[in-house]
């Protein structure tokens, strides 16, 4: 049971890391817009689309 004396601080340390990561993400504005990225995810250029244009390089797949 005395392992708990080690585990507890380690857990706290890990949580502090998570909180720090959250703080960084918030401060750098990653949660400012929660709607557009959800839509942007669906916007992948399709190969058919690439075929209709000749000047832009084809995206590596």
């Amino acid at each position: 049971m005395s392992i708990i004396f080690l585990i507890l601080p380690v857990t706290l340390f890990l949580s502090a890391g998570a909180v720090a990561a959250f703080a960084w993400a918030t401060r750098s504005g990653q949660f400012d817009d929660l709607e557009t990225p959800a839509i942007r995810l669906l916007h992948e250029d399709r190969p058919e689309d690439a075929a209709t244009r000749d000047d832009t390089p084809r995206k590596p797949r």
């Binding site: 507890l8 706290l12 909180v19 401060r27 817009d33 916007h43 399709r46």
Partner: protein, 829 residues
């Protein structure tokens, strides 16, 4: 081109299948999918277009290889339609002053700028906007923010000026508007981030402390070595400290402010409970005996912050909508220098310069007309429903709209010095002086604090006599369990759910407090023009031969004058052609089918013909007395028909007012229009109106509202014009109806995004229902608190009970708030 058109085709076909009863495959516009009008059909081309806008967007998308747009788009979305383009040149964006104020420099000489963008309705639009660099290579990056409706553009100024970027956006159907008040937006974003950070920290703390509390509680029943219990207590203390003093500092600040200003506020009892609970538990941790409440405290902070965050998010949505609307105001004017007009920002105009105002445009300055004559729509500024005829030497004011032909104006005052500017200044002063609304939950909290303090003093006193060693513990337990978690959540949650529902129904509240204010009946003061009425003239009577109508329609077919517009709306188009059309002040003369036609006012027709028949003069007088505008029609020198126009009452006005009357509201009408017109409109409403005043100036409206409020009345002002703005700011709640002026929107506390007065009635009904939800929530949370008080006074409350009671009460309040139907029309009142 034809291969690419194939991509557009299937989408268009899908739209066609949606139109029921369309058996014959009608040609569809290759861009927007709408049916192509017969006149625009081109038999030999494959892609057909319904308008030039669609044709050019289609061409741009193909040349830039962006046909993927047609695949991304939802063909069932009816809002797609043909692109709306402003056709402006956006030259004002290239002025050095604009660059100074609105752009930021980036690496490599590039500049960044933000635009509000109109016309974005689906994810395909976002996709297209973000591929702007392919349409115009000078743009390096374009990112769209859906939450704020803002497009951030980074471009290389050495390749192309910003006006070219703006024109490219406009040509795609997304009209850009420079964002103003960027500092305000930055402030807001900072506030959002800070609150989110607090929320995250409180959440993490609550989760971790709860785990340790679980160990402590199970240890209490199952037995646990003292050293482990001490470890968990110290661990909880370590986690709870930042949660209470950083994440929770919001409540302490609010509580202090409440004490300082002596206004009751929810933060006061919350701070009391938090501080008592934290210090009681911390001392017990140091002593190594007694109860600790860290888990309850952290959960409390977390839940309260969730409520605040939700409320803030929903409030910001309405704020965004009003931002967007005010960004649409014309901030440019055509400055005439050496004979040629040039588009400049309105702020660059100076007294003495000459500006050109084209038909359909808003006047941006106060001044005197030096060239041309036209009709001005002054309804937003004065409430006058009939357009004002102006010619050389007449004064014009900022905020009016030019209707028929271009005029040149010599500037006499600009910006804050104009009549509009002075009105807006008085709106700001009135708004600043308005007493803040004390919300129900805060009022309850005021009493709550006193009662809790009394009970805890009593508990301390009683236990001091019974068992001094437990007196402090029991008092702390009381303060923790009565800490109004559910009470603090009841309002924000009910309000944010209501704000969301209201926005869905086309009602935007700028703050939750206005819902509470609107829930109590009072006097509603209505503006007339544009609020009770449609705000545009309609043909109400036509005395004369019906066969004359097509002739009149042909004469008025091309004019932008409100009378002509009314003719265009009511009489179907014919293929008659009009020749030798000539406009005069007060009327128009033209030849149709070889007949000489005069359409105009009494004085105009009399001047042209020399005299008027008696029948027509008596009819015209009768119409004028009833608040209608008579227009005479003469064919070949004989007055043969008389048309009457009126700004008709909105179709839903009578029913909406009846619903409001049932809720206990009383009505008044305050209008800038003539008294006889006001009386005619009031007569049509069929509800008792306390007072109907015409000819009221903006200052008179403001004074009337102030007098009503001084008489102890709860006053609501509903309007649409700049002339109502000051009165709105002075009222308990100002409501702007759809289509109102921007100045009016900024003064209003509530505005509707659907035409008609139905939304006003719905707002009042919804507010009443929301208030009931809030009361239920407050009642529920007080019941839980009563239970807690009973347990604590009896000395039977341990931290486990506190930990169970608090979330339980919150969950029941949240459920009550979220399940309620408030602003839906289907809901039974």
């Amino acid at each position: 081109m034809s291969a690419a058109a194939e991509i557009g085709r299937p989408e268009a076909a899908k739209v066609a299948s949606l139109h029921a009863g369309m058996s014959e495959p009608e040609p569809q516009c290759a861009h927007c999918g709408l049916p192509v009008p017969a006149a625009r059909l081109e038999p030999l081309c494959d892609p057909q277009f319904c308008c030039d806008g669609c044709r050019s967007v289609f061409a741009i998308l193909h040349s830039a290889g962006l046909t993927e747009y047609y695949r991304q788009r939802d063909p069932n979305d009816p809002r797609g339609g043909s692109p709306q383009r402003s056709q402006r040149k956006f030259e004002e964006l290239d002025e050095p002053a604009f660059r100074e104020a609105h752009t930021q420099a980036g690496p490599g000489g590039m500049l960044r700028c933000e635009f509000f963008v109109e016309g974005v309705h689906c994810s395909a639009c976002v996709w297209l906007l973000e591929r702007l660099p392919r349409v115009i290579p000078a743009v390096l990056e374009a990112r769209y923010d859906l939450t704020r409706s803002v497009l951030r553009v980074a471009w290389d100024p050495s390749c192309a000026p910003l006006s070219q970027v703006a024109r490219a956006l406009d040509s795609l159907g997304y009209t850009p508007h420079p964002t103003h008040s960027t500092t305000l937006a930055t402030e807001q974003r900072k506030g959002d981030r800070a609150l989110l950070l607090r929320l995250g920290i409180a959440g993490a703390a609550a989760g971790n402390v709860m785990l340790m509390a679980l160990a402590l509680y199970s240890g209490e029943y199952g037995g646990m070595a003292a050293e482990y219990a001490t470890l968990f207590r110290w661990g909880s203390l370590a986690i709870a400290t930042p949660a209470v003093f950083w994440a929770g500092s919001l409540f302490f600040r609010g509580g202090l402010a409440a004490l300082r200003t002596r206004t009751p506020h929810m933060d006061l009892p919350v701070s009391l409970g938090l501080l008592a609970g934290y210090f009681g538990s911390a001392i017990n941790t140091l002593r190594g005996q007694g109860e600790v409440y860290f888990d309850s405290l952290c959960t409390l902070i977390f839940l309260l912050l969730v409520g605040r965050y939700l409320q803030r998010t929903h409030q910001r949505r309405s704020a965004k909508a009003s931002d967007l609307l005010s960004a649409l105001s014309p901030t440019t004017a055509y400055l005439v220098e050496s004979g040629t007009p040039r588009e400049v920002p309105a702020s660059a105009l100076q007294v003495g310069s000459i500006v050109e105002v084209r038909p359909g445009e808003r006047v941006t300055v106060d001044g005197v007309i030096c060239d041309g004559s036209s009709a001005l729509d002054t309804s937003l500024l004065t409430g006058e429903s009939f357009p004002e005829e102006v010619t050389v030497g007449d004064r014009v004011h900022a905020g009016t709209t030019n209707l028929s032909s271009p005029v040149r104006v010599r500037v006499e005052s600009v910006g804050a010095e104009t009549r509009l500017g002075r009105l807006m200044h008085s709106v700001e002063t009135t708004q600043r002086e308005r007493a803040p609304i004390v919300r129900l939950a805060d009022r309850v909290a005021g009493y709550f604090v006193l009662i809790i303090l009394a009970i805890s003093a009593l508990t301390l006193l009683i236990w001091w006599h019974l068992d001094p060693s437990h007196a402090i513990d029991h008092t702390v337990a009381l303060l923790v369990v009565t800490c109004p978690c559910a009470l603090g959540m009841a309002t924000p949650l009910a309000v944010s759910a209501a704000l969301r529902a209201a926005a869905h129904s086309g009602i935007l509240f700028k703050g939750g407090e206005f819902i509470e204010e609107l829930a109590h009946p009072g006097v509603i003061v209505f503006d007339k023009t544009g609020t009770l009425t449609e705000g545009r003239l309609a043909l109400t009577h036509f005395d004369g031969d019906e066969s004359l109508k097509p002739l009149v329609r042909a004469v008025e077919a091309t004019s932008g004058h409100p009378i002509a517009r009314a003719f265009q709306r009511t009489i179907p188009e014919s293929n008659l052609r009009c020749e030798a059309r000539q406009e005069y002040p007060g009327g128009v003369r033209a030849r149709v089918e070889g007949r000489d036609i005069l359409v105009g006012s009494q004085s105009f027709v009399r001047a042209m013909l020399g005299s008027l028949p008696v029948w027509c003069m008596t009819r015209a007088q009768a119409h004028a007395a009833a608040g209608r505008t008579p227009v005479l029609i003469a064919v070949d020198g004989v007055v043969s028909a008389l048309a009457a126009f009126a700004d008709s009452v909105r179709a839903d006005a009578a029913t909406s007012l009846k619903q409001l009357a049932e809720l206990g509201f009383q009505f008044e009408v305050l209008s800038g229009d003539e008294q006889r017109v006001v009386d005619a409109v009031v007569g049509e409403l069929r509800v008792p109106v306390l007072n109907a005043t015409g000819g009221a100036s903006p200052e008179a409206k403001l004074a009337a509202i102030t007098t009503l409020r001084a008489g102890g009345q709860r006053v609501f002002m509903v309007g649409d014009g700049v002339n109502d703005a000051a009165a709105m700011a002075a009222a308990n709640v100002g409501i702007a109806v759809h289509g109102g002026a921007e100045a009016c929107l900024s003064a209003a506390d509530v505005f509707t995004t659907r035409p008609g007065l139905e939304t006003v009635a719905l707002a009042a009904q919804g507010a009443k229902r929301t208030m009931r939800v809030i009361r239920v929530g407050i009642g529920l949370s007080l019941a839980y608190n009563l239970l807690g008080v009973g347990l604590a006074v009896a000395g039977r409350l341990d931290p486990l009970w506190a930990a169970i009671l608090m979330p339980l009460s919150s969950i029941s309040v949240v459920t009550a708030a979220l399940r309620a139907r408030t602003f839906t029309r289907e809901a039974k009142p």
